[in-house]
Symmetry: C2
């Protein structure tokens, strides 16, 4: 008996909901400190209490209030994003030096943006540190598929066995994190080239933007590093319909090989737990939008679709050009 679609979604969207059990939720929040920056009236992430204890918070720029369970980056009133970015980088450099956090051993040299209310860009921080602060991160996921007389088939890559995170697991055809200021579609073009050797013109001609999935992930051992760190995410989702003669190919060391899976093969691999957690969610969304998973064949249809579009409690980005 394999995993159900709801089990797969629950593995990705693990943080409790207030509405399911208000008392449990309120109590659960005591495990975290709220992360804020001065001058911005919003919680930007939840930090696990044990993580908060391990930092050496410089009193110059941090206020840790153990009563309200809040960690606040303190800056002068007219601080710029650059100011905040620098203070965060200094703070991280100190814990890297002391080698306090396992997740920081996987330093990526990629900067992730943090937004305030109204989509205001507040600062950026090293990607591998985002789960320490429990801040929202963004990515793009695309499913390349072929639909012809042989039916619908999906291009499924297997991650390299040497990859730091989720080695050897199945993935979405194209997937990647969004670095600072990069609009989602531009990120997709870049990742499609880098990961699947898909030329820009092919991607532009065949891609449909179809929404996003969002969920509140709690990191487990497969993610590498400390467990139970929080990683709320928004993944912009794209469908790329390819003719059978366009074949994705590995272009870097991240992917071992691409295979063309039938719907049934994909479902079997999902039930077998072979897909990285958030990639499973993207495929279930694909199946729902393409009429493959329906209210009539999926007992948990309503719960699945709502959970994979979780309205997260943190301010979110806005990528629209004015």
């Amino acid at each position: 008996m394999g995993k159900s679609n709801l089990q797969l979604v629950n593995e990705c969207d693990k943080f409790p909901y207030y509405q399911d059990d208000p008392a449990f939720y309120t109590d659960h929040l005591k495990n975290y400190h709220a992360f804020k920056v001065s001058g911005c009236n919003a919680v930007l992430g939840y930090m696990v209490n044990s993580v908060v204890e391990k930092f050496s918070w410089s009193a110059d720029c941090w206020n840790v209030d153990s009563k309200s369970q809040t960690v606040t980056l303190i800056t002068p009133p007219h601080a710029t994003p650059q100011d905040r970015t620098r203070l965060m980088a200094d703070t991280l450099a100190e814990v890297v030096k002391r080698d306090i956090f396992e997740v920081l051993r996987g330093w990526r040299n990629e900067m992730y943006p943090i937004y305030g209310p109204g989509g205001e860009f507040l600062f950026e921080m090293e990607r591998s540190a985002t789960p320490l602060f429990g801040v929202l991160s963004y990515g793009v996921h695309a499913t390349c598929y072929v639909e012809d007389e042989s039916g619908l088939r999906l291009w499924v890559p297997r991650r390299s066995k040497t990859k730091q995170t989720y080695p050897g697991m199945l993935d979405n055809t194209v997937a990647g994190g969004m670095s600072t200021t990069e609009p989602p579609f531009e990120c997709l073009i870049r990742e499609a080239q880098e990961e699947a050797s898909l030329p820009e013109d092919v991607v532009r001609a065949n891609t449909v933007s179809v929404g996003y999935v969002s969920y509140f992930y709690v990191r487990d051992a497969r993610a590498g590093g400390e467990t139970n760190l929080l990683q709320p995410e928004v993944e912009f989702v794209y469908d790329i319909k390819l003719s059978a003669d366009v074949i994705p190919k590995p272009n870097d060391t991240e992917v071992e090989a691409f295979h063309l899976y039938t719907v049934e093969e994909t479902k079997a691999a999902l039930a077998n737990g072979e897909f990285k957690a958030n990639c499973a969610v993207v495929l279930i969304d694909f199946f729902i939008r393409h009429g493959i998973v329906t209210a009539e064949n999926e007992p948990d249809y309503l719960e699945i679709l709502a959970k994979m579009h979780r309205r997260l409690e943190f301010p979110t980005a806005s990528h629209a050009s004015a």
Copy 2:
């Protein structure tokens, strides 16, 4: 300056969220009694306090607890759905006789199902009474569209000026409420025939099940009857791609006429507030899934998509056959 897509979604999804302001939300809930049935540990809906006061609750089968703000239908331990349905019908007959509620003047003679945890069918009740109890109701909405050398165009009906609810407003091509035990796709087939004269074989051949929209509606004057009643809804969503020679036609008195709108005409009518609130949401979802509304052209993209897939706090139906 017309209405933004977020404004349109907010008109439909009006009930507050705990996460936006826990104190306000908790306080707001004091305006309602929780509706429950004995033997089922779940809140099935929220009843406005002034509505609770107007019923004559028979002590035989109702327990109204003003301290915990709960209205419970009390039945013997082994009550059947039929038992609960009969008690509810008797209770409604009494208030209809006294002509207490405006919404019940629009008696529909349609029974709507109420579900408990795990999708258990608990009972059914008259459609027009569901907002008095604030219970979740279900429907189907389909967008018929043509995509050819003239681009993408949508079949948009205008509701009859004599229709009881939302007269004269624009609608989705096919839309209707789901009566007891009817699976969503069968409901769609029926409504497509009744409202748009679309033959069953055409609908079966051209329809893709693409998900659902859900929201927590608070009734305003356009809905008819008492305002501020709660109407949480799940609407199963379908795309029906038609060739240009298939033309929807009014078949009953509900629709005045169908028109083929371009995307720009549809957007203009949306911004102009011409669409019934939940039909606007279904169209925005259509535009998102078809790559017309994207993260790059819609500043409120993230908020819109999450709100239109609201995870409601009540038990939901399961339409999957075993």
